[in-house]
C-alpha cells in the first residue's frame, strides 16, 4: 500500500502551517478549508514550490524532503503533476507543444501512451494546434490537466482547478475529473473550498483551518465528525459509495446497495453494478425510536447513535452508524429531548431525500 507522509512546519509571522498527515496512496484526497487555512501552502510545500524550513515528505517510500538531513528535492526533480488555479499554460506554445513540454523532459517511453489517454479522457483532441490565448477557460484547464497527466506522475496535485471558472464551466469539467478518478490509479491531492467538489470527488478528506489539520480520514467518517464545523453547517451531508443493484421499472425506482444495506432512489440510467455516490443531507434525515410501519418514506434503515452534539439555531446534530456507513442527522433540540436520544441507542432513520452525484 503506497502512502504519502507529509509533515511541515513553517511560520510567516501572520500565518503558520503545522501539519502531520498520513494520506492514502490511492484515490482523491481533498484538502478542504477556507482561504487562509493553509491548504494551498500545504500543496505547494508538497510540490517543492515552497520550502518549509521544517519538513519531511515521503511519497511511495521516496523521500522528497527531510529537513533533518537537509534534503530537499527541487520541484523539477519530483515525479509529480501539478494543476494550477489558473491553467498556467505557456502562452508562446500551441496546445500540442504545451502537452509535449514535460514529456520531452522525462526519460520513460510510456509517456506518449499516457498523453493519448489524457487527451482522450479530457476531450481536447480538436484543440491541438490552437494557442492558449484562443481557448476558453474550461478548455485551458482541461489542457492543463492533460499536460500534468501526460507525465504519468506518481502523484497529481491540483490547486483549486475549478475556482477560476464560472458555474457552467465547472459543470463541464467535473465529469472529466470523476472519469479521471475511475480510470486512473494515480493518487490525487485536490485543494478546494467548495463543498460540492468535496462531495463529488473526495475519497479521503482533510479539513484544514488556520494552518492545522482539524480532521483527516475517509470522506463519510470525516464529514460526520462532530468536532469539526462541517457537521454543523446548514449544508452538512454524508456521501456514501454505493452500486446499482436493481431497477424497479414499474415504480421508476432504482435500488442501490451500500456496505450495510440498500436504498431506493429515483430511477438511475445506469447498468447493474455501476458505482455511484449518493449524498444524504443531514436535514433530510429524521429519527424514530421504533420501526415506522405506515410511512410514505421508502428508505427506513436501522442505525446506532454514535454521537450527539448541539448544532446552531436550536438544532441537534446526531451522528449514527448504519452497517459500516456514517450518517449525520440534523433534528430539532426539542425532538432530541422528547425521544431521549443517547449514544449507543438503536434507532431507525428515515431518509426523505437523496441526490446522486455521478
Amino acid at each position: 500500500m503506497t502512502t504519502i507522509l507529509a509533515r511541515f512546519q513553517l511560520d510567516y509571522g501572520d500565518f503558520k502551517l503545522d501539519v502531520d498527515l498520513t494520506l492514502p496512496g490511492t484515490g482523491i484526497t481533498v484538502l478542504f478549508g477556507h482561504s487562509g487555512s493553509g491548504k494551498t501552502t500545504l500543496l505547494r510545500c508538497i510540490a517543492g514550490l515552497q520550502r518549509a524550513p521544517l519538513g519531511k515528505l515521503e511519497i511511495n517510500g521516496h523521500v522528497w524532503q527531510d529537513s533533518e538531513r537537509n534534503l530537499f528535492l527541487p520541484t523539477y526533480k519530483r515525479p509529480l503533476g501539478y494543476v494550477f488555479q489558473e491553467a498556467n499554460l505557456f502562452p508562446h506554445l500551441t496546445v500540442r507543444d504545451n502537452l509535449h513540454y514535460g514529456l520531452k523532459r522525462i526519460k520513460q517511453n510510456s509517456g506518449t501512451v499516457k498523453l493519448e489517454q489524457a487527451v482522450e479522457l479530457l476531450g481536447i483532441g480538436h484543440l491541438m494546434e490552437r494557442m492558449p490565448g484562443h481557448l476558453s477557460g474550461g478548455e485551458r484547464q482541461r489542457v492543463a490537466i492533460a499536460r500534468a497527466l501526460a507525465l504519468n506522475p506518481e502523484v497529481l496535485l491540483m490547486d483549486e482547478p475549478l475556482a477560476s471558472l464560472d458555474f457552467k464551466r465547472k459543470q463541464e469539467i467535473l465529469p472529466f475529473l470523476s472519469r479521471l478518478h475511475q480510470q486512473l490509479d494515480i493518487p490525487v491531492l485536490y485543494v478546494t473550498h467548495s463543498q460540492q467538489e468535496v462531495a463529488q470527488l473526495a475519497d479521503t478528506l482533510v479539513i484544514l483551518e488556520d494552518g492545522r489539520a482539524l480532521a483527516s480520514g475517509p470522506l463519510p467518517e470525516t464529514q460526520s465528525r462532530l468536532d469539526v464545523p462541517l457537521a454543523q453547517d446548514r449544508e452538512a451531508a454524508t456521501v456514501w459509495q454505493a452500486t446499482v443493484a436493481e431497477h424497479e421499472a414499474d415504480y421508476h425506482l432504482t435500488r442501490v446497495a451500500f456496505a450495510g444495506g440498500s436504498l431506493s432512489l429515483p430511477a438511475v440510467d445506469a447498468e447493474i453494478g455501476t458505482p455511484l455516490r449518493v449524498q444524504i443531507y443531514a436535514r433530510d434525515v429524521s429519527i424514530a425510536l421504533e420501526a415506522p410501519t405506515a410511512t410514505s418514506i421508502l428508505n427506513v434503515l436501522p442505525a446506532t447513535i454514535t454521537g450527539i452534539a448541539d448544532g446552531r439555531d436550536g438544532q441537534t446534530v446526531v451522528q449514527m452508524r448504519i452497517g459500516n456507513q456514517a450518517l449525520l442527522a440534523h433534528i430539532t433540540r426539542k425532538s432530541a429531548l422528547m425521544l431521549g436520544l443517547q449514544i449507543g441507542m438503536a434507532v431507525y432513520v428515515q431518509i426523505k431525500g437523496t441526490s446522486i452525484l455521478n
Binding site: 520541484t75 508562446h92 514535460g102 523532459r105
Partner: protein, 228 residues
C-alpha cells in the same frame, strides 16, 4: 558627399557598437535576471550603479574610466599584469567604456521584461521537469523576446550616439578610436559644414529608423528614457 575618412569613422562606430552590444547582452542578461528576481538588500545599490550613466555627464564617466584604465589605475595595472597594455586610446578601451555607458539601456528593458513574466510560467516549467537553465531558455527567452530586441536595439543605437565618453577614453585617433560623433565635431571645428551635414544626416536617419522600429514593429511603449 561622404569622404573615405567619413566612411571609415562610420564603419568604426558600428564596429564599436556591435561589440559593445554583444558584451552588454552577455553581461546584462544575467544581471537583469538577478535584479528582476532578487530580494537582496544590494538590489537598490546595483540598480543605482547600473542607472548612473543615465544621469552622469558622459565626461565625468569618461574621466574616471580614463584614470582607472590608465597605467596607475586599478584596471590599468590589472590589464598591464595580464600583458594587455593599457586600454585608453585603444579600440578595446572604447568598447569597454561604451559597455559601461550604455548598460542601463540594455539592463532596464530586460529587467522589466523578466519582471513582467512573473513566477507562474517558471513554476509551471518546474512542475514539468524543466531545470532552472532549461526554463530560462525554453520559457523566459521566448516570453521576453520583445525585451531582448528592445535592449539590443537601444544599446546599439545609444552606443552609436555617444560622444563625451568616447572623446575622453578613446581620443580622436583616425581608424582606431575616431567615431562618427567625434568626426562631426572635427568637421564643425574646421568649418566644414557640408561634410558635417552629411554625417549628421546619416545619424539622424539612423536614430529615427531605430526608434520607428521600436515603436511600430515592436510596439514598445514610448518612454523618455528607460528609467521610467
Amino acid at each position: 558627399m561622404l569622404s573615405a575618412s567619413d566612411i571609415a569613422t562610420l564603419w568604426l562606430t558600428f564596429k564599436v557598437a556591435g561589440y559593445a552590444t554583444l558584451l552588454m547582452m552577455l553581461l546584462g542578461t544575467p544581471l537583469a535576471w538577478w535584479l528582476a528576481r532578487t530580494a537582496s538588500r544590494w538590489k537598490g545599490v546595483c540598480n543605482a550603479l547600473v542607472a548612473l550613466p543615465l544621469v552622469l555627464p558622459p565626461t565625468v564617466l569618461g574621466f574616471y574610466l580614463l584614470v582607472m584604465m590608465g597605467p596607475n589605475g586599478a584596471i590599468g595595472r590589472l590589464t598591464t599584469e595580464l600583458g594587455l597594455g593599457t586600454l585608453p586610446f585603444t579600440f578595446p578601451g572604447l568598447v569597454v567604456a561604451s559597455v559601461l555607458y550604455s548598460l542601463p539601456f540594455v539592463v532596464q528593458p530586460l529587467q522589466t521584461a523578466f519582471a513582467t513574466i512573473g513566477e507562474h510560467p517558471l513554476e509551471a516549467a518546474a512542475t514539468l521537469r524543466a531545470g532552472p537553465l532549461d526554463t530560462f531558455f525554453s520559457v523566459v527567452v521566448p516570453l521576453a523576446k520583445p525585451g531582448f530586441m528592445t535592449a539590443a536595439i537601444l544599446g546599439f543605437a545609444h552606443t552609436v550616439g555617444e560622444f563625451g565618453v568616447v572623446l575622453m577614453v578613446g581620443g580622436n585617433i583616425p581608424d582606431k578610436t575616431r567615431v562618427v560623433s567625434v568626426q562631426i565635431y572635427n568637421h564643425v571645428e574646421a568649418l566644414e559644414y557640408s561634410e558635417a551635414h552629411w554625417l549628421a544626416g546619416c545619424l539622424l536617419l539612423f536614430s529615427f529608423s531605430v526608434l520607428l522600429v521600436l515603436y511600430t514593429a515592436l510596439k514598445t511603449q514610448p518612454v523618455a528614457h528607460p528609467l521610467k
